[in-house]
Subunit: 400 residues, 2 copies
């Protein structure tokens, strides 16, 4: 782990200072630091924040750089799932190449951590996982990637998937995934018991996609909360989307948020523009640890999105009607420190003793930096320069 | 009006062709055109579409380039209105300078037409209108600007405003504006009768902001439709936002859309991310002429937005869950040809005989071009080059 001196930055938008990094950790923060023989970077007076965190994405899905994909379907969630599973082969979607493109761009745009789901199904077995594990290895020291073994095509409804998830977790997936235990998997008890059994067997956390709305979603969420409590897995269970906490019944939302906070279940939101989503402000006020994610980027599901967590923060901020500076600062916190905490990375701050895992952002203030569309001037991971001006600069890393 | 030959473009994403412009109009479209002595531009194989149309914005509000504005409020619509009216002076918001910044950037990003509301109130009189009329004059031949005299602080609730609107229309405003006749103006009959009286007196069309939701909004909309019919103003009345047609009652939405289509009332939508908005697909299917708009950009109301109609189209597309290529093509049509039609500019197409008012866009197909974040390669207005690669290139026009 190298030493590095970053001159003339404004940590968290405060007074100008230098940041001295020793063996990959922040050793000193202050004006006019001296460090003979240490490589120096000019921070240009930009704001330094902890690196951004994409807490919910799918690195195995993007068609980025493959030419325009015309075959998108409308229709039900099941249609979209089937279309994707049947399209990977004909499209020639190479998961290692595509996840490299996706992850490198996230790093160029200031991200230091990704939690990515990977499809595990009976058509593809563990091949998609293998492609993504190759990316995780290739980008070690550039961006940290957590991999969720995700039964995108269903767990209970596709026999054989349980054993594949079991093997995926043994092979190197970090987290047990799940998908709509009621609406898609048609057996909430069976599905959730299976997910928690795998988590217990492998000693790994859980992250469940829950798109179910209203009372049905609330029912499934309660079953997740019951099992979190019974298994003593507080702080190790996440629910992605959780649209049921954005229902039209404020009392229901408030009750669910209180219960989620009590069991320290983490919520991952993408600010889905055409769905009802839980209020970011209300979740944080209830004490819930929340991460934001880009979700899929230009894949067989849809054309939208950019591999940039500030781009996503803006979508989430607009969706949540955030206007004031204090709201924009909360939004940025969920995209950096708070998002890291939500995926289990503690102490992700610009402070002495922390990992030197940070990005510079352009703007007068933290609030301005969320809104401003500008490249990240400098991205640093474990004390190494990863990107400059939105272009990858990590030695040996080439965009495929 | 000049002649111009644009070589090697793909009109509406079709086969490569040249476009020959004579005295500001499209004279010929085809491969390998010859035109001795006519200035030529290389289109680089990009797609040519009609120029983009911002059918709903507020050029008099942006703080763009003025430093970060920290004073935003939360709270009610009334709080936001009062905050803005009281902030213009202390902020030093020069409407001519700010509207130039805003409009020039829209042109750089491919827009050829803007419909912009301008606040007319008893504190500011016609001073904001005057600043914007100076911009309209300065940008003649670069971008066309329609000005709506807009009672942002209310018409019936602020005596004296009616006379100011009357004077604004005499002084050069093109369109009579209105604001929430029931919820804000507290007198829907009085407010709408006043608006239609001004329209009749000045022979000008109408564009009313209607944020009112559900049954109240439906009631107000019906009153607008009744007056449209009674005054024979079909095709000359617009309603902006019209959230009541995006209500939770699909039968209500469908009934209102049918009535709006029957009276040829135009709808302007911004795809407001935190509001319920009418479905773009459903409106077009009902036969309604729809325009899209950026609304306010980084002003005292909120920090969001970009002066770029493709940026806004993406917000509208995500909001309306558009995925398929045919949906993206519909979205682009509303941002160009259809948006122009909705604001009363007919025949806005890339075809022989039409005004040479077009932009090039980057992408393999029309659908791709909506999604791709890239500068517009070339923007042409009435046969003159206005911008290249996202930078203003019109002679004598300088970004203030």
């Amino acid at each position: 782990m190298p030493d590095l001196l970053i001159r003339n930055v404004r940590p968290m938008g405060g007074a100008p200072a230098d940041i001295l990094i020793r063996t990959g950790r922040i050793a000193e923060i202050g004006p006019g630091l001296k460090a003979d023989g240490v490589a120096a970077e000019d921070g240009g007076g930009h704001i330094a924040i902890p690196s951004l965190v994409d807490a919910h994405t799918h690195l195995d899905k993007t068609t980025w750089g493959m030419g325009w994909y015309k075959g998108r379907k409308g229709g039900s969630l099941q249609d979209l799932i089937d279309n994707e599973r049947n399209s990977r082969g004909p499209l020639g979607l190479d998961v290692h190449r595509q996840s490299m493109r996706h992850a490198i761009q996230l790093a160029e745009n200031g991200a230091g951590h990704i939690r990515s789901h990977v499809d595990v199904d009976t058509d593809h077995g563990l091949t998609l996982l293998e492609g993504k594990m190759a990316t995780r290895a290739a980008l070690k020291g550039v961006i940290d990637i957590q991999i969720v073994a995700f039964p995108q095509s269903g767990l209970m409804v596709r026999p054989g998937t349980y054993d594949l998830l079991d093997r995926a977790l043994a092979a190197g997936a970090d987290i047990v995934g799940g998908l709509d235990p009621s609406s898609m998997d048609r057996d909430p008890k069976g599905s959730l018991d299976a997910v928690f059994r795998l988590a217990e067997k492998h000693g790994k956390p859980i992250d469940i996609h829950l798109h179910e709305y209203g009372e049905l979603g609330a029912f499934t969420l309660e079953m997740i909360l019951e099992r979190t409590r019974a298994h003593g897995m507080q702080g190790r269970v996440g629910v992605s989307h959780c649209f049921c906490m954005g229902s039209r019944d404020p009392a229901l939302n408030a009750r669910l948020m209180d219960e989620v906070a009590r069991e320290d279940v983490r919520i991952f939101t993408t600010g889905h523009p055409s769905a009802q989503v839980p209020s970011l402000q209300a979740m944080r006020k209830a004490g819930i640890k929340v991460g934001l994610g880009c979700d899929g980027i230009r894949d067989t599901w849809g054309p939208w999105g950019q591999p940039d967590m500030l781009h996503r923060a803006r979508i989430v901020g607009m969706k949540n009607a955030m206007r004031r500076d204090d709201e924009l600062e909360l939004l940025l916190d969920c995209t950096a420190r708070g998002g890291a905490e939500a995926i289990g990375v503690a102490g992700h701050e610009v402070k002495v003793g922390a990992a030197a895992d940070l990005t510079l952002v352009a703007g007068e203030t933290l609030a301005h930096a969320v809104v401003e569309e500008a490249p990240r001037p400098l991205v640093v991971k474990d004390g190494r320069v990863v990107a400059r001006g939105g272009q990858i600069a990590a030695p040996g890393v080439v965009m495929p």
